[in-house]
Symmetry: C2
Subunit: 228 residues, 2 copies
């Protein structure tokens, strides 16, 4: 599903350059449940942004389903992200003027998977209930706690059932019981739909669930381990 | 230092009301190192906002140093927050157009504790180095990782050496090594300057450091424990 070869990402120009990723080689197959972990500032978010085609590498190649994202047009990338990739951002990125329900519905609408209106409503309500937000669907982000906003971000990525979900520290603001509920939903999607999950995390519980462990330090993968 | 009696906080009006805090009684003495913990949505941020005079209770009284915050004018409250209270927000609230250095310096400037310019510069650089951001002081928030932004928020609250620091999930986006470094800085401030710390957290490491444990569930304190 994903092939990264000698990937580099440099921020800034001229004198002040930050080498966020310094030569990453990585292959991830469909259906994997992988997590990237490592110190703050080590490059996890940068890596996920490249995998999710939110950004382009400054060196090396990133291929999703055999397509090199560095060669794709803006429209092709946008279409890929809308339909096939669900992204849970480290800072949620919810739309402030929309309710939790509308934020999730919007993601499903733009994924254009042509379902009936009733089916769409059902899917949106179902995922929001499953992350424990059933009775606050109509609230806007500024009327929700930190962990509730995080769960709206989770619901929004999961509702369109994409092939690949990239979750950047999805449990950072959740208590352990809620974290477990969220991880169980994701594990079930992985088993039933073969959805590929790539997490970045500091949370030992997420690492517990992962079957592929990728340690990153100073922009390089220092350890790559599979386990059952 | 802090007295809360029968404190209630209700969001919303008319039909749709959310009882975020339902009668909280709490006393915290100067020099305590306390943490509030509990499920997502249980009322931690709401509680900290009331203690920090960022919001007023809808019922009951909140007294800081004997002054009832419900009776204070806007100016008096603003003065109190600027000088005596350091707040680390769950979503950081950094000023986007200022660098990390300027964000921290700004907090020290408005605290008006009348230090020489050199002393101020020294304090700002010192706290930023201690949280590991020494070589990225000149970057703006959008050039920093999630955990780096969180540490700027920490530095900004600590630099003015206030009597009370309220930290809303200050380690949520930090790896364990960095979390420990931040907690050690806070513990040292607590011992050397008798700074009072009240945390809200989901992180077991923060709970490990706390000498006062306050469990909150559905807007009420369900457990209140002191230990050495
Ligand atoms: N402006 C608002 N309008 C309505 N309800 C609100 C508002 N702000 C917060 N709430 C609700 O009040 C309750 C307490 O929120 P609070 O932010 O204090 O929770 P928390 O314990 O900090 O949660 P977390 O661990 O997820 O950060 C939640 O159910 C939340 O949805
Ligand atoms: N726009 C930018 N300009 C300059 N440097 C940047 C920029 N964005 C990120 N960086 C730097 O690139 C490095 C990697 O950042 P990244 O956000 O990927 O880290 P991370 O592993 O996600 O950290 P955290 O665990 O704190 O979220 C960091 O040192 C960061 O400061
Ligand atoms: Mg990150
Ligand atoms: Mg909160």
């Amino acid at each position: 599903l994903l092939e990264m070869e000698r990937v580099e990402k440099i921020y800034g120009q001229g004198e002040v350059q930050v080498l966020a990723l310094r030569g990453v080689d990585l292959e991830i197959e469909e259906g994997e449940f992988a997590t990237v972990f490592g110190p703050s500032g080590s490059g996890k978010t940068t890596l996920l942004n490249l995998i999710g085609a939110l950004d382009k590498p400054t060196g090396g190649t990133v291929k999703l389903n055999g397509c090199e994202i560095g060669q794709m047009s803006k429209n092709e990338l946008a279409g890929l992200r809308r339909k096939d990739i669900g992204f849970i951002f480290q800072s949620y990125n919810l739309i402030p003027v929309l309710s939790a329900y509308e934020n999730v519905e919007f993601a499903l609408t733009i994924a254009r998977k042509d379902r009936s209106r009733e089916k769409k409503t059902q899917k949106v309500k179902d995922i929001l209930r499953r992350v424990g937000l059933g009775d606050m669907m109509h609230r806007r982000p500024n009327q929700l706690s930190g962990g509730q906003k995080q769960r709206v971000a989770v619901a929004r990525a999961l509702v369109k059932e994409p092939r690949l979900i990239l979750a950047d520290e999805p449990t950072a603001n959740l208590d352990s019981e809620t974290s477990r509920e969220v991880l169980e939903i994701m594990l079930r999607m992985n088993r039933e739909l073969n959805t590929t999950f790539i997490f970045s995390t500091h949370d030992p519980m997420v690492m517990e669930y992962a079957r592929r462990l990728l340690e990153i330090r100073d922009g390089m993968i220092s350890r790559d381990e599979r386990r059952s």
